[in-house]
């Protein structure tokens, strides 16, 4: 009885799913498999970039993080918040306690006037978090052509291949009238409807191809690096991507450093366990005759 009902149920689901298959196959045969879209033809995967924090022995380059922080402060912070990071965290980048305090004080954070109780601003202290550039989302959207600049604290983990994606996005802006995809076509020719509208900018690394962020890094030397490194667009893009990799996971270095002793201990324990197992089983394991 169970088997009879089982066979009938099985046949029912099989017929239902093969019917769906047939319907799909018919559509595919008459209308072709999947249409080409502007995204499918022009979207590109992030470029290959090497960061010192890559790989199992990865570590942060403190100088680079400081430069990246400078780019964030002088460029990105006009539009993007970094709400999960506090000034005290900057000591991770190699700043001394005094430097952290001075750095915090160079930012204005929301405060309360001690005499009147009115909302005002005051210089930041080490325990404050990075302030937001806009009072609220409505203000942020109004100032950015209806798009809200996302918070950058976790950006490097919130996209596939995050740091490489941020880097590619920053250096990837091109002119859709002349940029050619692998097939040698331009967007203007093949998908004129997908050309960026007013206030949008073409960037093949962005999933929808057109985004509301104007190219933020536009000229070499836009930032004057405190350590004297030459601030090419490429350098600034790499540095800020490395900085955002840190802000997304300040514990990355510690994680990788902890991993090795843990694995080492486990390897040792596993070898011991293997030898123990072999010895215990020796008495009941038949000797192979061949």
């Amino acid at each position: 009885m169970v088997r009879l009902i089982g066979i009938l149920t099985g046949l029912f689901f099989t017929v239902a799913v093969l019917w769906a298959f047939a319907t799909g196959a018919y559509t595919a045969a008459t209308e072709g498999l999947g249409e080409k879209t502007a995204e499918s033809e022009f979207h590109e995967h992030p470029r290959e970039v090497a960061f010192t924090h890559d790989g199992a022995f990865g570590h942060f380059d403190r100088q680079q993080l400081q430069r990246g922080y400078q780019v964030y402060k002088e460029v990105c912070s006009a539009c993007h918040s970094l709400r999960l990071v506090a000034f005290r965290n900057l000591s991770d980048l190699g700043y001394t306690e005094a430097e952290v305090k001075a750095e915090a004080a160079s930012w204005q954070v929301p405060g309360i006037d001690p005499n009147t109780g009115e909302a005002t601003t005051r210089p930041g202290t080490a325990t404050d978090y990075f302030p937001k550039p806009f009072a609220n989302d409505v203000a942020a959207a109004a100032a950015n052509g209806n798009a809200i600049p996302p918070d950058l604290s976790l950006m490097a983990k919130a996209r596939h291949d995050g740091p490489a994606y941020i880097y590619s996005l920053l250096v990837g802006y091109t002119d859709p009238a002349t940029h050619k995809n692998e097939a040698g076509q331009t967007l203007a020719q093949t998908f004129p409807d997908s050309m960026p509208g007013a206030g949008l900018y073409f960037n093949p690394y962005f999933p929808n191809l057109n985004l509301a962020m104007a190219p933020p890094l536009t000229s070499d030397g836009q930032v004057t690096y405190a350590d004297g490194t030459e601030a090419s667009i490429d350098q600034m893009a790499k540095d800020v991507s490395a900085f955002l990799a840190w802000s997304a996971e300040p514990t990355l270095e510690k994680r990788k450093q902890t991993g090795w002793p843990v694995i080492g201990f486990l390897l040792f324990a596993t070898i011991l366990a293997f030898l123990a197992k072999k010895q215990i089983w020796a008495a009941v394991t038949p000797k192979r005759k061949d």
Partner: protein, 431 residues
């Protein structure tokens, strides 16, 4: 239980004798996982995964309870409280990565454990109850993992919860009210998050209880083995301790190395980047996908793309998805072959390796892919095979199959001959 030659507990230390007289807990442990439990001597490494699953459960409970000390189940702060754990709690990042990857580790182990059961027909008499409780465990585990994934309240948490609870709305008449009741609202929000947290905390302890029943039921007939021939005499078995404690210890070591490598060097490889974006009901992610361990069933759900007569496609998909797991409950009665082990079943073995395993691989792959061609068509073929395999092929294959000769006993399988086991005093009836 069990076999007449099972060793009896004799406490040596006075304190153990004292405890054992008052509360025979030492005796219980000795008979469950100590020298008092005789186990077939020929188990291969596929028999490691039960103990590994038990280890994974303990790991999840320990890391989970500590995480719960720092986590805040409130929709406005849940996401930030998880980041607080990652950034400010001492070793919080390690706890969270250990728990998230621990869930994956648990599922890897459980899938291997279940497929061991499929190949060796571990579900057959006299172990039906062990199997039924196992399927219950799997369902509880899926529910626990699903609700756990909602807790960080990222984009995938939110949209995953919305899609999965939305499945209930496919049920005619009561569907919509049921979904609203489950969520405590029209969409996932604070009410849903709070109840999911409460249940996510509770269910692992329910699982622990069912594991005890599962092992209790197992110890009535004792473990099966790769030949599928039941234990006949003492020479067929070895005591669990030290033999299998040693073997399981080694297996655990190997597994922990893989798990630690993932947790410390690629902790986000199995997760989805969108879950690092706070939940936003106004912005739908481009591709909503559950965690990898749900992919086969998600693929089955999405394979039903066409209505059949009066049955809407969505309802068919939901029914099929649940049926795909529920059929496992009936395996002991669907598979009538008197031979257990796939090693001695030439036809069954072919369907297993060249049918079920590829179909599962395709379902895993397509479930994580976007709902586009060719993934949809591939998952439709794999889904058709999945149901045919369990519900049509398995019930009738034994009628066409000539099993290969079985060894007389486990001892013979291991040593090449079995003199001792021929109708000794301790012999149990042959199968």
């Amino acid at each position: 239980m069990s076999f007449p030659w099972a060793k009896h507990y004799e406490p040596k230390a006075p304190v153990m004798r004292w405890i054992d007289e008052k509360l025979p807990l030492p005796r219980l442990v000795y008979n469950a996982v100590g020298a008092g439990y005789p186990v077939p001597r020929n188990l291969n490494y596929m028999w490691n995964f039960g103990v590994l699953a038990g280890f994974a459960l303990v790991l999840q409970i320990v890391t989970g309870v500590i995480l719960a000390m720092h986590y805040a189940p409130n929709a406005t702060v849940a996401f930030d409280s998880v980041e607080h754990i990652m950034r400010d709690v001492n070793w919080g990042w390690m706890l969270r990565y250990a728990h998230a990857n621990g869930a994956s580790f648990f599922f890897v182990v459980i899938y291997l454990h279940i497929f061991r059961g499929f190949f060796y027909s571990s579900y057959k008499a006299p172990r039906e109850m062990v199997w039924l409780l196992g399927v219950v465990l799997f369902l509880l585990l899926m529910a626990t993992a699903f609700m756990g994934y909602v807790l960080p309240w990222g984009q995938m948490s939110f949209w995953g919860a919305k899609v999965i609870t939305g499945l209930f709305s496919a049920i005619p008449l009561i569907g919509e009210p049921l979904q609203i009741w489950l969520l405590g609202g029209y969409a996932p929000d604070n009410a849903a998050l709070n109840r999911f947290f409460s249940l996510h905390f509770l269910l692992p302890f329910v699982i622990a209880g069912v594991v005890i029943l599962h092992i209790w039921a197992l110890h009535i007939p004792g473990s099966s083995n790769p030949t599928g021939v039941e234990v006949k005499s003492e020479s067929d078995t070895v005591p669990f301790h030290p033999y299998y404690t040693a073997k399981d210890g080694f297996g655990l070591g190997v597994f922990l190395i893989i798990y630690a490598a993932l947790t410390f060097f690629q902790p986000n490889a199995l997760g989805h980047p969108d879950n690092y974006i706070p939940a936003n009901p106004l912005s739908t992610p481009a591709h909503i996908v559950p965690e990898w361990y749900f992919w086969p069933f998600y693929a089955i759900l999405r394979a039903f793309t066409a209505d059949l007569f009066f049955l809407p496609a969505k309802l068919l998909g939901v029914l099929a998805m649940f049926a795909a797991i529920l059929v496992w409950f009936f395996l002991p009665w669907l598979d009538k072959s008197p031979v257990r082990s796939g090693h001695y079943r030439p036809l069954f073995r072919k369907f297993f390796w060249f049918g079920l395993i590829p179909a599962m691989a395709v379902l895993f792959w397509c479930g994580g892919a976007p709902a586009e061609e060719p993934y949809v068509m591939l998952s439709q073929i794999a889904t058709a095979y999945y149901f045919l395999h369990f519900l049509v092929i398995l019930p009738i294959v034994s009628a066409f199959e000539r099993p290969e000769p079985l060894p007389f006993s486990i001892t013979e399988a291991v040593l090449g001959s079995d003199k001792k086991a021929v109708l000794g005093e301790n012999t149990t009836p042959a199968t």
